[in-house]
Symmetry: C2
Subunit: 327 residues, 2 copies
């Protein structure tokens, strides 16, 4: 990655996805025992950060005269690619797992993309998308591997460095690694004193284990409510980048993710998908590490089935005390 | 009001409150039968638009060497004034009704302001705040009457005109009138083809009735869940401004406000306070008027007691069909 290319990416991305809010949330900070700033990546037409990357991908394809593109997606990338494809008049095919949240599948369809649903998990979708790309001779967008997806996500880093120069730590959801490597790279260049901490669920720990062992570690299964980060096969080149830019990679429990979602609702009024609560979960599990420090957490998506959400978070704040006391 | 002063206000307001997101929400648009853009005024440290005004007020007082200020508040203004006061080292006293949402009262206290709670409604708080100002010889901030509060709110209009130049109509919650007159004024100057539509609950119709009759009409009571707009005594000077800039003022039912909150949760993932759902409620009640047009609705606040919220919106989407069918 190069900083000049990340800066250039800003010129390609629809401004509706840029300069997202970053704001302190005192109430959440009091609950967590540190100063918390929220970088909100959900207040845009696709409710996640993913369009920063798809805008760069599709902008490049358009300049090359391409007219079609395919990706595998856990949901958010597919909706974002559909959105960018529609903006630029490009045919988009998205392959997703049948297990993806219905809310995400519905949005992909509504975006105008052709959605193909496969049995199995995200890795099955990846195989099928690669097959479609080969057969049709069209570009396969590989999230995290394709530098455009990392450069797009990295534009978040430019903004964080400017909006929160005093941040002691930035907490980043870790899945395939586009956001972690992109944002991490920019912060290491522009704000080297800021700690870059990646957060992944214990139930889908492949990239974190890989980072710790400094070699690709795969897992047989992924079992987490954080569907957006539930990969099993880390990409070697992405791991190489992550080893350079991440200061730490931590794993969190499912109960902490749910507690994080609950705190974000109660103290920030935000409905988020599980992946977006990983940062708060990390603070909940290790409060001493963050006590009194200024922490930025990137709220990366809000695409969640509401019935799941209510089950995870509980119907009302009256449930909160019980759940928190039980931690 | 003057456009130059509104532009100058941008230089006084902490950037964390400026350039809030404006984005199209296709899913909400499909549900409402028109193109809907959301201007999101909740992704900031006080979760409402009110700090745009208090920043201008407190910035001016600081320049005059003042050290204390008092206001009456339904909740959001008080939190915003507390926030701006803390930023500028100014003593802030807020008077609020005991009936205000606990979430709002808690936030005012936490902001560092001195909170005085009075019996009666917002108008009682207004009287008490005026008394405190007289006794202590400090500035009474009167929302909507004080031009700074309107100029601060009007900065939203600058952004809407730039972010959504194609908007056919902008829907603005109408309470005291700061937001409606401020945003309306800017839009009439910069985007005269855009319809400025104010929305108020049937249960608190004083300003709308005043606008229709072109004279101040007060009401004996205010009965609405939209606590942020529940005034009874319109200010004559504000009405004069509103008569110049508003193209229409409409009243909506409580059931429509709740349905609007529900749609914003289901289709945009947004938890909002009732006042912020007035725009969506207006579209729900008069779909033909907006069919196929591009409507911007300003989501002005998200400070709501979650137990109230869940009661109004229902615990899950499964409730939605029943309520909507019952409309």
């Amino acid at each position: 990655m190069e900083l000049d290319r990340v800066r250039a990416a800003r010129g390609v991305i629809d401004p509706v996805f840029l300069d997202s809010p970053l704001f302190g949330c005192d109430a959440l900070g009091r609950a967590l025992g540190c100063a918390v700033s929220i970088k909100l990546e959900t207040a845009n037409p696709v409710r996640s950060f993913k369009a920063r990357g798809t805008e760069v991908v599709v902008g490049g394809l358009r300049d090359q005269g391409q007219t079609a593109v395919v990706c595998a997606s856990a949901g958010n990338l597919g909706w974002a690619l559909g959105w960018s494809g529609r903006r630029h008049g490009m045919d988009v095919t998205v392959v997703a797992s049948r297990r993806a949240p219905a809310a995400k599948l519905d949005r992909i369809r509504a975006s105008g993309a052709v959605l193909e649903v496969v049995d199995g998990d995200f890795e099955s979708a990846r195989e099928r998308a690669a097959e479609i790309a080969r057969r049709r001779g069209i570009r396969l967008v590989e999230d995290s591997l394709d530098v455009e997806t990392c450069e797009g996500a990295a534009t978040i880093g430019l903004e964080v460095a400017q909006q929160a120069p005093s941040a002691d730590a930035v907490l980043i959801a870790l899945g395939g690694g586009a956001m972690a490597t992109g944002v991490g790279y920019v912060l290491k260049v522009l704000a080297p004193a800021t700690e870059v901490i990646c957060v992944q669920p214990h139930g889908a720990p492949a990239m974190t284990r890989s980072w710790r062992e400094r070699r690709v570690v795969t897992t047989d299964s992924a079992d987490t409510i954080a569907d957006g980060v539930a990969g099993r096969y880390p990409i070697s080149a992405v791991l190489d980048d992550l080893l350079v830019v991440a200061d730490d990679a931590v794993l969190v429990e499912e109960a902490s993710i749910m507690a994080g979602m609950r705190l974000l609702l109660q103290h920030a009024g935000l409905v988020v998908e599980p992946s977006a609560a990983l940062g708060v979960a990390a603070v909940l599990e290790d409060p001493d590490r963050f006590a009194g420090r200024h922490v930025v957490t990137i709220i990366c998506g809000s695409n969640v089935d509401l019935d799941d959400y209510h089950r995870w978070v509980g119907a009302g704040p009256q449930d909160l005390g019980a759940v928190e006391a039980g931690r």
